[in-house]
Structures are given as structure tokens and as C-alpha cells.
């Protein structure tokens, strides 16, 4: 990954994190604000319910008082106060009075608590409600919650009791409103809130006893744990309930126990649980909106940041890239590479330093090259002097012998002349050979590439060296060849390769004057064909190994120092590499790597 991309990613990540943090902060702040608002609204509704409940209780008590003070009530009291009252004529009176006063419940009870007439359960006439006989001043007592028995099952009512007397005979009017859906709807909860009433009329939790101001309660079992807790602890609780997979279905449910504070049934009983549910839909939707807004802003920020970062990093990394290109040029051998950077910052300083470095490298290279050239010429001169000096000396002696022999007898002169000319010719031949080698080295032609199988080249070279291997008088040298199978063909000059290989083989033979093993091996490795020539000779010292490929350097008594130079030249012309491994006394191994193109 380039520096530019890294810089780009870092910039984009920074923008993203910043936008994310801002979104998170805004969302959390909004949520906290909504929760505070929700709590306030919930508390307000609960307070409203309490006020409404109290108001309803007052209203029920007022209506019951009106009934008890009515002419009908007085007539009832008089009629029922007789010695043998005919209660049958009043069996429907409660229904009429309840309808006239908009009451859900109304029962007229005689002085002993016997039901004379019942609006909610007309068929219960004749039954007794003993609890009204307890010593309570019902006319001053407000409304209270009470369980009411109905034909379809028990119900919960907000009940008030009033009495009417005539001639020391008292009758009771017990009536009120039913706590049901209509009652809850009359509470007029604000938008987003609803009231749910659980009528605690059975020993265990029953979903049928739940009634909501907004209709039926779906999945009532989700309220079971809350209601059971309130039933057990008789105190207010608040929980969040998620009704479906939709997160916006969450409601905060405030559970308020409704007890019979002025119970007719003795003791404080839990008669119901009012559940004030506040929808979190708006909050969730706002959070979602903020989240989406944050994501959108984040995406836009990331995009903008990416563009900005792209532009900025382009400006920042351009000189760096130029520096990298310059370094690559230097690495490729173009030491004169220069980097043009206009900035005056650290990158500019780095570019200036780079340019200075390349300038000095070029200068040093030139100096080194000049020094090497001088050294090479010196070496050449030394070798040439050395090579030429050897045949020149016999030539000089022979010529001097001829001069001296001129004074001898013709016969002796002739003999000496014949011998001397023979020697002169031999030495001249030597000079010719020496000059020929130098000439050959100087005339190394460019390779003529063609498809070549390296194994064939090796076999050809070894065939040419058979005479040297089998030279009589030489200690035996064992030849071991290892040819890799299925080697690909190379684009190479077979003659040059064969010549290089022959040089290596002959060098190996020279390195084993006492005999040994010559190993020639071919293989394929890392996209290249490897040719290895190893001997078991005396090996090379580190100094010899370092100068091994220097032209005209030789460790042999009569070597020209051109053999390995030619090998290196051939390998280099084939874009290959040659390496040597050697230790004194353990032989040497030359490895040529030729790339498969």
C-alpha cells in the first residue's frame, strides 16, 4: 500500500470517527432529552389520571347523592320501610335510575342489605350485601374501588354508597362507574400515550383482564411479569416493553397499583393495576433520523475527506514519489537521476540532499571508474608484459646465440641456426597465441539468441572436454552429471554458453591436479535455469574469490585471467548471474542462473 493510500485512509478514518462521535453525542443527548420529556409526560399523565380518578370519584359520589335525595329514593324508603314491603315493584328501578344518571352500577339495598333492585345484575334481587351494614358514615365517604360481580364475571368499579332514611328505616344506594375501556378513553391521554387497566379479579394473571384505551392489548404476556411484580409488591414500577421486532414499538410502562383504600371487603386489597404506557416511537424515529443524518453526513464527510485527502496527499506525496522514483533510478544504475522539488519544507530538504547524494555518487563513480580503468590498464600492462616477457626472453637468447654462432664453423652454425630458428618459430607461435587470446576477448560478439535446451549445451561442452578429462598422465577425475528433466527452452546463444561452460569445466580440471570429482548439474529454481559446475579441488581463498572475475586475474601459472571474465561476460549478456561458493580445501562450485523468458 502506498504512502498516499495510507495517508488517504488515515484522513478518511479521522473524518469518519469525528462524524461518528458527533452523531453519537447528538443521539445520546437527544435520547436523554426525550427520556426526560417522556418521564415528565408520564408523570403528568399519572397525575392527570389521579386527578381524573379523584374527579370521577367526586362525580360518582355527587350523582349517588342526587339519587339518594331524589323523590324516587324517598318513595322507595317509605315503601320498603313498611311492615310487608312489596319489593317486586322496584325490581327494575335501579336500571331506570342508573340509566337516568349515567351509572354503570346501581343497586338498591334494603336496610338489612338485601338487594331490592340491581342495574348491573337484575337477577340478583333478594341476595344480600352484608358489607353495607358496617359502621361507616357512607354519606360522607367518597368513592372507592370495588370488585363488582356481574353475570359475565367480576368487574372493577368506582363505587359510592349513599343512604336514604324514612321512619328510621334506611335503604342503601350503591352505585358507580365501571373501570373499563370507556373509562380509560375518557381519561383522554395525550398523543403517544395510552392507559391500560389490569383488573385484578382472579388469583393469577389473566390476559382477559387487561383492557386498553386504544383497543385490545396485543401480546399481553409481555406485561405479565410487571403486573405480577406490582401485585406482589403493591408499589409502582416502571419498565420498557418492546411489543414487536420494530424498535419503535417500545413503550415505557408505568404501573400503578389500584387498591381498595376504602374497601368494602376489609383490608387493603389490590383491585387493579393501571398501566400508563408512553410510546417511544417519536424518540426512536428521531434517533433513527439523527442516526441516518449522521450516517449521511458521515458518508458525505468521508467522500469530501477522500477527495480532499486525495488532493492533499497528491500534493504531499508528489515530491515523495519523485524521490522514490529518483531512488529507483539510482537503484537501476542511473546515478545521475535528479529530483525536482520546489518546496522548502523537509521534503524539499530531502530532495536537495538526494540530488547532492546522486551528484556525489556520479562523481565518485567516475573517479572509481577512472581508477578501475587505470588499474585494469595496469593489470593488462602487467599481464601483457608478463605474457610477452616469457617468449621474448627465449627469443632474445636465441637471437644472441645466433649472433655468437656466426663466428662458429658453418656446420656448427647451421646446426645452431636450425635449432635457433625452430625455437624462434615456437616462441613466435606462443606470442601469436597470446595475442590471439587477447584479441578474442576484445572481440566478444553479442549473443545470437535462439531456443536452447541447457542440457544439450552441457552435453556438447562436456563432449568437447572429453580429451582433457581423459588426458593420459592426469590423475583420474570422475565426471558426475545431473540433468533436470523437463527444463524449459531458453533464449540463448548456444555457442557462447558452451564456451563459458567449457571454461568452467577446464578451470575445474585445472583446480584438481591430484584428481577428484567434477559435478555438472542442471536444475530449475525460482523462474530460472541453474547450471552448476563443482569440483573437489583445493578451493579459493576469500581474496581470490573476490577478484575471480576480474579480467586478466588468474591464479594459474600460465593463465591469461580471461576465462572467467569471458564466462561472466557471456552470463551477463544473457541477463543471468554467476556466483561462486568455495572454501579452501573443499572445492569450488560455480552456479549460473539464466532467467526463463
Amino acid at each position: 500500500m502506498t504512502f498516499r493510500y495510507k495517508l488517504l485512509i488515515a484522513s478518511a478514518a479521522t473524518v469518519l470517527i469525528v462524524v461518528g462521535l458527533v452523531t453519537l453525542t447528538v443521539t445520546r443527548t437527544a435520547r436523554d432529552a426525550f427520556e426526560r420529556l417522556d418521564t415528565e409526560r408520564s408523570d403528568a399523565l399519572v397525575a392527570q389520571f389521579r386527578r381524573e380518578f379523584s374527579k370521577r370519584g367526586d362525580e360518582v359520589a355527587r350523582r349517588m347523592a342526587a339519587i339518594a335525595e331524589s323523590e324516587t329514593a324517598q318513595r322507595l324508603a317509605i315503601e320498603l320501610g313498611g311492615s310487608h314491603p312489596d319489593t317486586a315493584q322496584f325490581v327494575n328501578t335501579a336500571q331506570d335510575l342508573a340509566a337516568a344518571n349515567s351509572l354503570d352500577f346501581l343497586e338498591i339495598l334494603s336496610g338489612d342489605g338485601t338487594i331490592v333492585s340491581s342495574a348491573q345484575w337484575p337477577a340478583r334481587f333478594g341476595y344480600r350485601e352484608d358489607w353495607v351494614g358496617q359502621p361507616v358514615d357512607w354519606n360522607s365517604r367518597g368513592a372507592f374501588l370495588q370488585r363488582e360481580e356481574l353475570p359475565a364475571g367480576p368487574a372493577l368499579g368506582l363505587i359510592a354508597v349513599r343512604t336514604t332514611s324514612a321512619a328510621d328505616r334506611k335503604i342503601y344506594f350503591v352505585g358507580g362507574e365501571r373501570l373499563d375501556r370507556r373509562f380509560l378513553q375518557s381519561l383522554a391521554p395525550p398523543a403517544g400515550m395510552r392507559a391500560i387497566l389490569y383488573r385484578n379479579l382472579e388469583p393469577g394473571f389473566s390476559p382477559q383482564l387487561l383492557v386498553s384505551s386504544s383497543g385490545s392489548v396485543e401480546e399481553p404476556q409481555k406485561l405479565e411479569a410487571l403486573i405480577n411484580t406490582v401485585r406482589r409488591e403493591m408499589r409502582e414500577r416502571k419498565v420498557s416493553v418492546q411489543w414487536s421486532q420494530d424498535p419503535s414499538s417500545v413503550e415505557v410502562v408505568h404501573a400503578i397499583p389500584l387498591t381498595s383504600s376504602s374497601s368494602s371487603q376489609g383490608g387493603q386489597q389490590l383491585l387493579g393495576v393501571l398501566l400508563v404506557a408512553s410510546s417511544r416511537r417519536e424518540q426512536v424515529e428521531l434517533e433513527g433520523f439523527i442516526r441516518r443524518l449522521g450516517l449521511g453526513a458521515g458518508a458525505a464527510g468521508v467522500l469530501f475527506g477522500a477527495v480532499l485527502s486525495w488532493w492533499a496527499t497528491a500534493r504531499i506525496t508528489r515530491p515523495v514519489r519523485k524521490l522514490a522514483q529518483g531512488a529507483a533510478q539510482v537503484a537501476a544504475g542511473e546515478w545521475s537521476a535528479r529530483v525536482e522539488v520546489d518546496s522548502r519544507d523537509e521534503i524539499g530538504e530531502l530532495a536537495s540532499a538526494f540530488n547532492e547524494m546522486t551528484r556525489q555518487l556520479v562523481e565518485q563513480k567516475d573517479r572509481l571508474l577512472q581508477a578501475e580503468r587505470v588499474a585494469a590498464w595496469r593489470e593488462l600492462a602487467r599481464r601483457l608484459a608478463h605474457e610477452l616477457k616469457n617468449p621474448l626472453f627465449p627469443l632474445q637468447i636465441t637471437v644472441e646465440n645466433l649472433q655468437r654462432a656466426r663466428e662458429l664453423a658453418p656446420a656448427q652454425f647451421d646446426e645452431i641456426f636450425r635449432e635457433s630458428t625452430s625455437t624462434l618459430l615456437a616462441e613466435l607461435e606462443n606470442l601469436k597465441v597470446i595475442i590471439g587470446r587477447f584479441s578474442d576477448f576484445s572481440k566478444m560478439p553479442p549473443p545470437r539468441l535462439e531456443a536452447v535446451h541447457i542440457n544439450d549445451v552441457v552435453r556438447g561442452a562436456l563432449k568437447l572436454c572429453e580429451a582433457q578429462l581423459a588426458h593420459p598422465g592426469r590423475p583420474p577425475i570422475a565426471l558426475r552429471t545431473e540433468y533436470a528433466k523437463d527444463l524449459p527452452a531458453l533464449q540463448a546463444d548456444p555457442e557462447q554458453l558452451q564456451r563459458a561452460l567449457r571454461n568452467l569445466v577446464l578451470n575445474a580440471l585445472d583446480a584438481m591436479p591430484g584428481g577428484g570429482t567434477l559435478t555438472v548439474r542442471t536444475s530449475q529454481r525460482d523462474g530460472a535455469v541453474v547450471l552448476e559446475v563443482a569440483d573437489t579441488g583445493e578451493g579459493l581463498t576469500p581474496e581470490e574469490r573476490d577478484r575471480l572475475f576480474t579480467p586478466y586475474y588468474t591464479t594459474k601459472q600460465h593463465g591469461t585471467g580471461l576465462g572467467l571474465a569471458i564466462v561472466q561476460s557471456v552470463v551477463s549478456d544473457h541477463r543471468g548471474k554467476i556466483a561462486v561458493e568455495s572454501e579452501p580445501g573443499r572445492g569450488s562450485a560455480f552456479r549460473i542462473r539464466l532467467p526463463i523468458v
Binding site: 317486586a88 337484575p122 334481587f125 333478594g126 353475570p151
Partner: protein, 457 residues
């Protein structure tokens, strides 16, 4: 027969003294009597209509039949069978063959003479299982078994001589003839000028059917009707408003009937029977009209109804209910087609059952009920035919007995397994318009022929 006849006489005399009051005034002809009935009668052909003892429906049919046709014999106010279209009768020793000599000169309302053949044709569908033949002047009934109740049967309204002619018209032999017929809704009858007993005082009778109790009360209060049916629950209110009422002797049986194949556990049925507080129902819901009963026949007909215990036994009822599996303590009651009074009674029974540990709920439409609340009209003041018709209607074994003791034993046996739980015997109550005069039914049988309307001032 003589015993219940005297009671019938007493009950009839006790009906607000209307007869005495009306008799003091001079009758005159004219006017149309407007009658409003709750039931809807769809056919006036006695041969087509089954003997429907359902209260209301049968009552309405009887009233219309009695307007249209006369019977061979009738009960008088003393409960004695008197000649009507038959001037005399005789039977053989075992009462398996009867011969009735027809009143001469009687005509069908279409002018045809009432002879033995036409009378036999009209009665053949009524008296089933009996060979009915007619001569020029008589009608004969023959069978292979004694027919001691034949006179009572022939005195019933359904034995009125009414005939459906080939053109579909209904003609009878009574004081009024049918002039307009809208089945189930409306019947208009005109005075039969050729009536053998003399033209009735009224010019006609207009009968409107299918009127709800509320509509009838409104018609009654607004004087848009001369005769309306009232529920016993309305008696007190109407009396307090000083409206004229006529209450028949107990003429209906209000009872619970377990349906065949349902509630097979006798303990369940007995628990329910013992749980019911009939007296409270009578005192409050029935406004003390009629009588509490635990028997099929009312006291005034049978004379032994008082011996059937009608008091509740809540402890025993609960004990029996507790012995039942919890799942079988629930019963569904069929209230289909019943009036508000019956619904109120059913609600009260449900309360009583609840005290005993039983659950009694109305059967929802489409579900199979365990029992039903029925109101059955007594077909005859004669205990034999009345019991026979009731047992048939209730699906009980048909064991009518002429002997009072045997009948008592039979009825006791019929009720022993509590498949039928009698609750009360109810009277028929009618509101009478202020200008209706000479309203003097015999038993629950109207005598419209003698009624006249006082002219409006």
C-alpha cells in the same frame, strides 16, 4: 271435570268484574275490534298447522280459529261440555264410537251447508288415528280403543270447523269470516251475517300480528288497540295506571327442559332443580301472577300440584354439584325466541345455579344447548288432554290417565328424573281498551261474538 270447572268459574268471575260492569250497559252493533298480537300466524288451515303448544303462537292461532269457526261442543263457564254445532251425541259402552248429531241449518261462510261429510272432512286431520265419517246430519268417530277425552278434544279451538277450499280460501262456521289475510302480519275479519247464533255485535275484527311487547304497550297506551297482549311483568304498571286488564287462569307452563342426549347425569339435573328459587321468581319477576309450580299441570286443573315440592334446597344442590366433575358443571341454555320475561327468569336461574356451583350460560347461536326454557300453552282445561299434549310437547312418555291418582303418579314419574323442571304456571294477560264491553272469556277462550264496543263520545 266438575272440580276444575268450579275453579274455572271462580277465576272467571274474579276477572275484575268486567262482565258485571258491562252488563249494566245496553249493547249495540258496530265497530271493529282492533287486536294486537305478538305471535305471527302463517296459516289458518287447522289441517296444515301442527298442534303448536308454544305459548303465544298457539294462543294466537286459537283466537283466530275461534273467530272463524265453531266446534261441535264447547266448555261453558262452569267447565261443562255444552252443545255447539252438535246438538246431541252418544257413544257406545267403551267410548270407542261416538256419533254427534249436527245442528240443522248451519252454513259454511261461503254458503254451503254444514253436513256430516263436510264436518268430518274438517275434523279428520284434527282427530288423528280416528276414523271420522259423516252422514247428512251427523258425524261419527270410530276407533278400536276408548276415547274418553274426545269431548274435551272436540271442545278445543283447533277442533273448530274451518275448511280450506280448493281456491285456497279459508272458510269457517264462526261468527266472523276472513276478508283479508296477510300471513304472519294481518288478518281482517268481518261479521258473519248468516251466523247460526246470530250476527255478532262487532262489524269486524282487525288482528295485527308480530307486534313486539313494546309496540303493544304503546298501542295500548295510545288507544290504538282494543286488545293487546301484556307480559305479567307489565301487570303492576298497567294496574297502577288504572288500565283495564284481563288475566286468565294459569294457562302456560314455564319450565326447563333438558334436551335429549344432554346432561345425562341425574345429579346434575337434580342439582339445578333444587337450586332454583321459584318463589323469588314468582314474587319479583312474575309479579305474583300465576302460580309457582313443580308439576306439569296447574293446581286449578289437576288439584294435586301443591303436593309437588317447589322449595329450593341450596345445600343439597351444592352437595350434588360438588359431586360432579368440574367440567360437567356448566350448562348451556337455549333462549331462542323467548320474550324478555323468560330471559329475566333465565338470568335468575343462572344466579341460583351459580350459588349451587353450576354455570348456566345462554347458548350461543350455532352451538348445541343442554337445555331450553319453554313456555307451553295448556291445550285444554281437561287434565287428561292437557297432560297428554304437554308430555308430547316436552318429549316425555305419553301416559295420560283419566284417574286423578293415576295421573298424579304418572306425572310424578315423568318428573322424577328432572329432565323437565317446571317453574311456574302463567296466566294470559290482556289489556282491554276502555270502550270494550262484555269481555267475558270462558277460561282462556275468548267470546268475541258477545263483545261490543261502546261508541266514542
Amino acid at each position: 271435570m266438575r272440580r276444575y270447572a268450579s275453579i274455572l268459574l271462580a277465576l272467571s268471575s274474579a276477572s275484575y268484574g268486567i262482565t258485571a260492569a258491562s252488563a249494566a250497559m245496553r249493547p249495540h252493533y258496530g265497530g271493529v275490534l282492533r287486536v294486537k298480537l305478538r305471535a305471527s300466524v302463517r296459516s289458518l288451515d287447522p289441517s296444515e298447522a301442527a298442534n303448536d303448544v308454544t305459548a303465544g303462537a298457539q294462543s294466537a292461532k286459537d283466537h283466530l280459529w275461534l273467530l272463524l269457526g265453531d266446534r261441535l261442543v264447547r266448555f261453558d263457564s262452569a267447565g261443562t261440555v255444552r252443545p255447539m254445532l252438535a246438538v246431541s251425541w252418544q257413544h257406545n259402552a267403551d267410548a270407542s264410537t261416538w256419533e254427534f248429531r249436527l245442528r240443522p241449518g248451519v252454513q259454511w261462510q261461503d254458503g254451503a251447508r254444514v253436513d256430516g261429510a263436510s264436518a268430518a272432512a274438517a275434523l279428520r286431520a284434527i282427530v288423528k288415528g280416528v276414523k271420522v265419517t259423516g252422514t247428512n246430519v251427523s258425524v261419527a268417530f270410530r276407533t278400536d280403543h276408548p276415547m274418553p277425552d274426545l269431548l274435551s278434544i272436540l271442545a278445543e279451538a283447533r277442533a273448530s270447523l274451518i275448511s280450506k277450499r280448493t281456491d285456497g280460501s279459508i272458510v269457517g262456521t264462526g261468527a266472523f269470516r276472513l276478508t283479508q289475510w296477510d300471513p304472519g302480519r294481518h288478518a281482517v275479519l268481518a261479521a258473519n251475517e248468516n251466523y247460526w247464533g246470530g250476527r255478532p255485535f262487532l262489524d269486524g275484527v282487525d288482528v295485527e300480528m308480530g307486534r313486539t311487547p313494546r309496540e303493544q304497550i304503546a298501542d295500548f297506551e295510545l288507544d290504538r288497540a282494543d286488545i293487546v297482549e301484556l307480559s305479567v311483568a307489565d301487570v303492576r304498571r298497567a294496574s297502577q295506571r288504572e288500565r283495564r286488564l284481563w288475566t286468565s287462569p294459569p294457562a302456560e307452563l314455564l319450565a326447563l327442559r333438558f334436551l335429549p342426549g344432554r346432561a345425562d347425569d341425574p345429579a346434575l339435573r337434580e342439582a339445578l332443580a333444587l337450586a332454583i328459587d321459584r318463589q323469588s321468581i314468582y314474587d319479583v319477576l312474575l309479579q305474583r301472577q300465576g302460580e309457582v309450580c313443580a308439576s306439569l299441570l296447574p293446581e286449578w286443573i289437576s288439584g294435586y300440584a301443591f303436593s309437588f315440592p317447589a322449595s329450593p334446597d341450596a345445600a343439597r344442590a351444592r352437595q350434588l354439584a360438588d359431586s360432579l366433575p368440574a367440567a360437567s358443571r356448566s350448562l348451556k341454555l337455549d333462549l331462542e325466541g323467548l320474550d324478555p320475561l323468560a330471559h329475566a327468569v333465565a338470568d335468575r336461574i343462572a344466579v341460583n345455579a351459580r350459588d349451587a356451583g353450576l354455570t348456566l350460560r345462554p347458548a350461543e347461536r350455532g352451538t348445541r344447548a343442554d337445555l331450553q326454557l319453554v313456555r307451553l300453552r295448556l291445550s285444554s282445561p281437561d287434565p287428561g288432554p292437557a297432560l297428554a299434549d304437554l308430555t308430547a310437547a316436552l318429549g316425555l312418555a305419553d301416559t295420560p290417565e283419566r284417574d286423578e291418582e293415576a295421573r298424579y303418579a304418572a306425572e310424578e314419574s315423568l318428573l322424577a328424573d328432572h329432565r323437565v323442571i317446571p317453574l311456574a304456571h302463567l296466566p294470559e294477560v290482556y289489556g282491554l281498551g276502555s270502550h270494550v264491553r262484555n269481555w267475558a272469556p270462558i277460561g282462556w277462550t275468548w267470546q268475541i261474538g258477545s263483545v261490543w264496543l261502546e261508541r266514542q263520545p
